[in-house]
C-alpha cells in the first residue's frame, strides 16, 4: 500500500508540473518577458556581489610584504593606485638622490625603485631594479617566479608579465619596441632602441601580469635623446651610442621599501613625510587599502540595495503578470474544481508557476553571468587591474538564490491566494 501512495504522490507532482508548464507555455510571450526581467535583476544582483567580493580579493592580494611606498607628495590613494595597480598617473617624479638617501637608511632592508610612463601596445612598462624580482611579494607572501628565462641583465632586456606574453604571443629572444606615453596607439615609438625578451613571469593574477619590466638604465637609455616628452630633432642617438652614456637615472616615479623591523615603520614614515629636500609621502599599503574599502563600502551598499530593489521590482512585475492572468483563468479554475481539484491544488499551481519562472530566470542569469565574467575578465584586468575569477558559485550566491526563491514564493502569495479564494468561493464558470 505504501508504494502505491508513493506512486500516487509522484504522479500528482508530475501532473502538477505538467499543468504548470503547459500553462506557462500557453502564455509564453508574457512569461518570457517576465523570465527576462527576473534574469536581468538576478544577473545584476549576482554580478555586483561577485565583482564586489572579487575586487576586494584582487586588490588585497596585489601587494604584500611591502612596508612603505614612497612617492612625490600626493594623496595616499593616488600613490597606491599608480604604483601598485598601474591606475592613473604620478603627479610628479622624485629625484634619484632622494631614493638613494632613503634606501640607505639603517631601518631599510630592501628598496625597489619604480619608473613609469612608457607602454607597449597598451601594457604599461615599469623600469625597476633586479631587487624587484627578489623582494616583491603578492597574495600570501608569494614571490615572483619565472616561467621561462631570467631577470634582465643588459640595458635593452625586458621581462614580460604572463598576460603580456600570452596575449601578444611573445617568446624569449623576440624583439619589441616601447612607446612613449600610455596610450594604446601611441604615435611616438622608441623604435630606434628595441628590447629583447629575456624572461617571462608566471601568472600572478595581479597587475604584474600586465606589465613589461625593464631596468632603470633601459628607461634612461630610450629617453636619452628626448626632452620634455618629445624627441629632440637632429639629436638622434643610436642604441649603441646610448650605451656609452651614463645611464644612471635622474629621477624615478616611486619606490617600495621593506624594513628590517615593522616597529620602525611609523618612525620612518614620519621621517619621509618630513623629508627636507623634496616633498615626499610614504604610505602603508594596508592602511591605504583600508581607506579605499571605506570609500567603496558605501558605494557597495548602495549598489547592493539598488540591485535588491531591481529584483523586488521584477518580482512584483511577475506577481502583477500572474494576477492579471487570473481573470482569464477563472474558467480554468472552475474546470479544475469541477473535476475534483482541491483549492490547494490551484494555490500550488500558481505558486509553482511563479517558482518555475524564477528558476528559469536564475538559469538564464547564471549562464549570462558565466559568459560575461569570462568576457569581462580580460577587460577588467587590462583596464582596471581588477582580477575577478570565473568561479562565482559560493555559499553566498547559494544564499542569495535561496533568498530569490523565498521572495518569489512570498510575492506569488498574492496571485496564489487570489486563485485560492476564487476556487473556494462560488463556481459560476462564466
Amino acid at each position: 500500500m505504501k508504494w502505491l501512495a508513493c506512486r500516487n504522490l509522484t504522479g500528482r507532482i508530475a501532473m502538477l508540473f505538467k499543468v504548470a508548464l503547459q500553462s506557462l507555455l500557453n502564455r509564453r510571450m508574457t512569461v518570457l518577458l517576465t523570465v527576462l526581467s527576473i534574469a536581468i535583476s538576478i544577473f545584476v544582483l549576482l554580478g555586483v556581489e561577485h565583482v564586489r567580493k572579487e575586487a576586494r580579493e584582487s586588490f588585497g592580494r596585489t601587494v604584500s610584504g611591502v612596508d612603505l611606498i614612497v612617492g612625490a607628495r600626493t594623496s595616499q590613494l593616488n600613490l597606491l593606485l599608480y604604483s601598485v595597480f598601474r591606475i592613473g598617473n604620478a603627479t610628479n617624479n622624485i629625484t634619484w638622490q632622494s631614493y638613494q638617501t632613503l634606501a640607505a637608511n639603517k631601518a631599510v632592508a630592501w628598496a625597489i625603485p619604480i619608473s613609469l610612463g612608457d607602454s607597449h601596445r597598451g601594457y604599461r612598462v615599469m623600469g625597476t631594479s633586479k631587487d624587484y624580482f627578489r623582494h616583491f611579494r603578492y597574495g600570501s607572501q608569494s614571490p615572483l617566479v619565472f616561467d621561462s628565462g631570467q631577470a634582465f641583465d643588459a640595458v635593452f632586456d625586458v621581462v614580460l608579465g604572463a598576460e603580456v606574453a600570452k596575449k601578444l604571443n611573445y617568446k624569449i629572444g623576440q624583439q619589441l619596441v616601447l612607446s612613449h606615453g600610455l596610450g594604446k596607439t601611441s604615435f611616438t615609438k622608441h623604435d630606434d632602441k628595441p628590447f629583447h625578451v629575456v624572461g617571462i613571469l608566471e601568472a600572478t593574477g595581479t597587475p604584474v601580469d600586465q606589465t613589461l619590466h625593464v631596468s632603470l638604465a633601459g628607461i634612461e637609455a630610450i629617453h636619452i635623446d628626448w626632452q620634455n616628452g618629445v624627441q629632440r630633432p637632429g639629436m638622434k642617438i643610436s642604441a649603441e651610442q646610448a650605451l656609452q652614456h651614463d645611464l644612471t637615472p635622474k629621477s624615478i616615479t616611486a619606490f617600495m621599501l621593506g624594513l628590517n623591523s615593522k616597529m620602525a615603520t611609523f618612525r620612518l614614515q614620519r621621517a619621509i613625510n618630513d623629508y627636507r629636500y623634496e616633498p615626499l609621502v610614504a604610505i602603508l599599503p594596508g592602511v591605504a587599502l583600508a581607506e579605499l574599502w571605506q570609500m567603496m563600502s558605501t558605494m557597495e551598499k548602495v549598489l547592493l540595495l539598488v540591485s535588491l530593489l531591481v529584483l523586488l521590482a521584477s518580482l512584483i512585475g511577475m506577481a502583477t503578470m500572474l494576477l492579471a492572468s487570473m481573470r482569464e483563468r477563472y474558467p480554468e479554475i472552475s474546470v479544475l474544481r469541477a473535476i475534483g481539484a482541491r483549492p490547494w491544488f490551484i494555490f500550488t499551481l500558481v505558486e509553482l508557476e511563479a517558482l518555475l519562472i524564477s528558476v528559469a530566470g536564475i538559469a538564464v542569469a547564471l549562464s549570462a553571468l558565466t559568459l560575461s565574467v569570462a568576457q569581462l575578465q580580460d577587460y577588467l584586468g587590462e583596464h582596471y587591474g581588477l582580477f575577478i575569477s570565473r568561479d562565482f558559485y559560493s555559499a553566498d550566491v547559494g544564499f542569495l538564490l535561496l533568498l530569490v526563491l523565498i521572495a518569489t514564493f512570498t510575492i506569488a502569495l498574492i496571485p496564489a491566494i487570489n486563485a485560492y479564494r476564487r476556487s473556494v468561493g462560488t463556481n459560476s464558470n462564466s
Binding site: G11, N26, P331, R337, A338, I339, G340, T426, N429, S430
Partner: protein, 235 residues
Amino acid sequence: MVQSNAMTQPETVLELEDVCFSYTNCQPVISIPDWQVRAGQQLFLHGPSGCGKTTLLNLLTGMLTPSHGSIRLLNETLTSLSGSQRDRFRAHHIGVVFQQFNLISYLSVADNIRLAAHFGKRRSKNIDDDTASLLEQLQMPARLLRQRADSLSVGQQQRVAIARALINHPEILVVDEPTSALDEAASEAFMKLLLSLSRANNSTLLFVSHDHRLAADFDEMVSLPELNRANSHAV
C-alpha cells in the same frame, strides 16, 4: 471510503432535506424542504435564469455547502464531509458538464481527460483505451486527442466534455445548459449522445436548462421554481 461503482447502487441517489442556502444573511437563494432522485433516472430540471440553478448545482456537487439542512448523495451525507472530502467525493462520483469552457484550453484533449482520471484516482492502466472508446462513441476522430482543446470547435469541445465527465464512470452526471452555445443541429446531436452515453454508463443524469424543447427524451421533468421555495430572483 465511499462504496465503488461495482456495488449495487442505492435506490435513492440524491436526497435533500430542509436545505437552505443564502450568500448573505438576508435572503435565501435556495430553500428545498424535501427532494429525492432515484438511481438511474434522467432528470430534466427546468428553470429560467436567475432561479438559483447554478447555486443548486454547486450545492449538489459539494462546491458550496448549504446554510442548513442536509444533502445526501449515494448514502453519503455531503453536508457532514470536510471541504477536501467533498472535493474527493466529487472527483470520484460526479461528472460535470458546464455551459461552455469545459476544458483547460492549453492542454491537449487527451490531457484534459487524463487530468480528470487523475483526480478520480483511476488506477486502471487503460485510461487511454477508455478515452478512445468514449471518443468513438461520441463520433469524434481519434486524432483530436493530440490537439489543443481550444483548437476544437465549440460543439467538439462540448462532446469532449462528456467524455471527460464520464471517464471515471461517475454515478451522477450533472449537466448545466450544455447546448446554449450550439446551433440547433449540433444541439440535437449532442443531446442524443449525452442521453445514450449516460444511460450506457448507468449514471443518474441531472440536466439543467431553461429550454423546454430539450426535455422530450427525459424520464422526468422538474420545475425548479416549484422545487425551490425561496421566491427570490437572486443569481
